[in-house]
């Protein structure tokens, strides 16, 4: 059993967070949790009964892991350069993204695009679990799922943002969106100054995953 749970653990949690990382999950990585045992038991049953093969499961894990924030970055960059696209994106996000980028958005969830302005800075969390706009950003980072981020960002968002290096003046309203139900949120960050004349592809390189969660601002141009 121990072999299986370790095996499982290696596949589902990145080990990119050292012990000094303040955003590391509280899960210590050593304790065998009930959910891990349950997952292993169900997976072994499915395999033994011939419903799924090990290869099927790992193909799906690979497909999930290969989704990246690149699509989200393209969406943001296009919104920066094309006002008509931005208007449609804000009004009907998933349909507009599917039509414009030719990517089917087969999800029962609703996407809401939260536009940052000089007066409002948005940041997204799911206090109940780890709801995240996976259709655009892929798998959420480990810190997004951590109890620490989820519990603190709703209580002291400015302190948490400062720990991410994002310090905003007091006349900017910090607006936390808690994805409690059937909506998923993408932050549309503000276009950085000094990017006039940059191409859409160059702009997309400035759009980081964290800037679409709201914990950071886009990169400054070189």
């Amino acid at each position: 059993m121990a072999t299986h749970s370790e095996h499982h653990h290696d596949h589902h949690h990145g080990h990119d967070h050292g012990p000094a990382d303040p955003h590391a999950p509280i899960d210590d990585g050593e304790t065998v949790r009930y959910e891990h045992l349950l997952e292993a038991a169900i997976r072994e049953l499915l395999e033994e009964k011939g419903i799924l093969t090990s290869a099927d499961i790992h193909r799906q894990i690979d497909a999930q892991d290969s989704r990246t924030p690149a699509l989200g970055a393209k969406v943001v960059a296009k919104a920066w350069v094309d006002p008509a696209f931005k208007a449609k994106l804000l009004a009907s996000p998933l349909q507009t993204i599917a039509d414009t980028f030719g990517v089917p958005m087969n999800t029962p969830l609703e996407l809401v695009v939260l536009e940052n302005t000089p007066q409002v800075h948005n940041v997204v969390v799911c206090t109940l679990c780890s709801c995240y706009p996976r259709m655009l950003l892929g798998i959420p980072p480990a810190w997004y799922k951590s109890t620490e981020y989820r519990s603190r960002v709703v209580v002291e968002p400015r302190k948490v943002l400062a720990e991410f290096g994002t310090v905003l003046p007091d006349d900017v309203e910090i607006r936390v969106s808690d994805s409690t139900a059937d909506l998923r949120y993408l932050v549309l960050p503000m276009r950085p100054a000094g990017t006039e004349g940059m191409t859409e592809a160059e702009l997309a390189d400035l759009v980081t995953r964290d800037s679409m969660i709201g914990t950071a601002l886009p990169r400054a141009p070189r």
Binding site: L94, T127, L128, D178
Partner: protein, 109 residues
Amino acid sequence: MTARPPRPGEALPVGTRVRVRRGPPEFHCRTPTYLRGAVGEIAAVVGYYRDPSRLALHKPGLPMRLLYRVRFRQIDIWPAYEGPPADSLFADLYGHWLDPLTGDANGNA
């Protein structure tokens, strides 16, 4: 994309002040404990969705529940909030967890 829009008169209008119900402590109801009893206002009407607390019990999730985006001021959730008073928090809450308020600005009837 699957939300059914409400018919006229079914939804609380945008701007309505509401108080989040304190209970019952349903399993998987999607109403966070930290917002129970808090006063906010309707920011948007999203539409009808299946009831998550019923879906969690493998029921069909009926009746459908109206989902709202509700805006709270941070200082109305956390009395000791240290940031500016304009800071806010939005949550997605189902209508059967919200009581409309008709009283004063503090939510006192």
